[in-house]
Structure formats: structure tokens, C-alpha cells
Symmetry: C2
Subunit: 96 residues, 2 copies
């Protein structure tokens, strides 16, 4: 089990993830990524899928051509947890 | 360019795709696929991505763990076209 972040922890986490938005209704973080084309977008999705499977922590995500929307939350925690922050940081690291 | 299906053509197409639903608001067809786990779901998505890239006709789709939702429509045609029917048939063939 993993704990839902407190308000202070969540604020700290969001400070460290300036490109991510907070979805209050879902207690989740979201980001939309835009690529040159579908091939680039799906290559990115494949790398995220490997991260997700390795961490056993999977995104809710959608794709339309060159656009990928990712939402991270932790069902077991009832909302945003440290696992989402770590996954978001790992996804960001792919793009550096 | 490709033409939007007529009402008769669309009805015929849907008869041939009994597991797909018609989304009237989008003039699109949709289907939800459920797998054993994320690994199986993403393996399926990878095969669909290859079909899509080869056909240069890409789905709108989302994934949550073992579930994949696919929506097919043709922006250039302003709605459902023969290209969507062909893609749905190719996706179905993956699962046979």
C-alpha cells in the first residue's frame, strides 16, 4: 500500500513538475505531449509502457495521431501518491 | 480523399462488425477490448499501431491497464469511411 499525498506534499510535488497539471476531481496529475507525428508519439508511448510495467504502475492515457495525454493517479491510495510523482519524473527524464 | 459512407453503406458495414458500436455524435465506430493485463493490452496496441502506420490511418484510442478503447473515424471524410471499416476488419483479424 502507498499513502495519498498530503496537501503540502502535493504542492511540493507539483512545484517539481511544472509541465504537469493537477486534476482536482481525480486527485491526479496530467500532461499532454505533442510530437512530430504518430510514429514519434507511439515510440514515446512504448518507452512509457516499459517504465509502467517495470514499476507496476500504469497510466490512464490516450493518443490521437501526434498527441499523447497521460493521467497519473494511484487507485490503491485513492488519489495522487509518491508513485505518480516518481512515474512523472521518469517520463520527464525520457524527454530530456 | 475518401467519401463518408452513406446510410446504407454504414448499415452494411456495421452488420459485418457486430462487436463494434456506432457513435452517432462522432459518425465513428468504437470498440473496447479487454485483456488479461497491461502487457497483453500494450502488445495489442503495438500491433494496431503498426497497422495504423502502414495504412496511414490512425485511431483515437485510450488505455487503462488491461482495457483498450478504440474509436475510428475519418477526419478527411467528415465521418465514417471505408478506411475505418478496413481498419476495424484488420484489427479484428489480429484477434482471431
Amino acid at each position: 500500500m502507498v499513502d495519498q499525498l498530503s496537501d503540502v506534499e502535493r504542492a511540493d510535488a507539483l512545484d517539481g513538475l511544472p509541465d504537469w497539471d493537477f486534476d482536482e476531481a481525480r486527485d491526479a496529475i496530467t500532461r499532454t505531449f505533442t510530437f512530430a507525428d504518430f510514429s514519434e508519439a507511439f515510440a514515446f508511448m512504448t518507452r512509457v509502457a516499459l517504465l509502467a510495467e517495470k514499476a507496476d504502475h500504469h497510466p490512464e492515457w490516450s493518443n490521437v495521431y501526434n498527441r499523447v495525454e497521460i493521467l497519473l493517479t494511484t487507485h490503491d491510495a485513492g488519489g495522487l501518491s509518491e508513485r505518480d510523482v516518481e512515474m512523472a519524473e521518469a517520463i520527464e527524464a525520457l524527454l530530456e
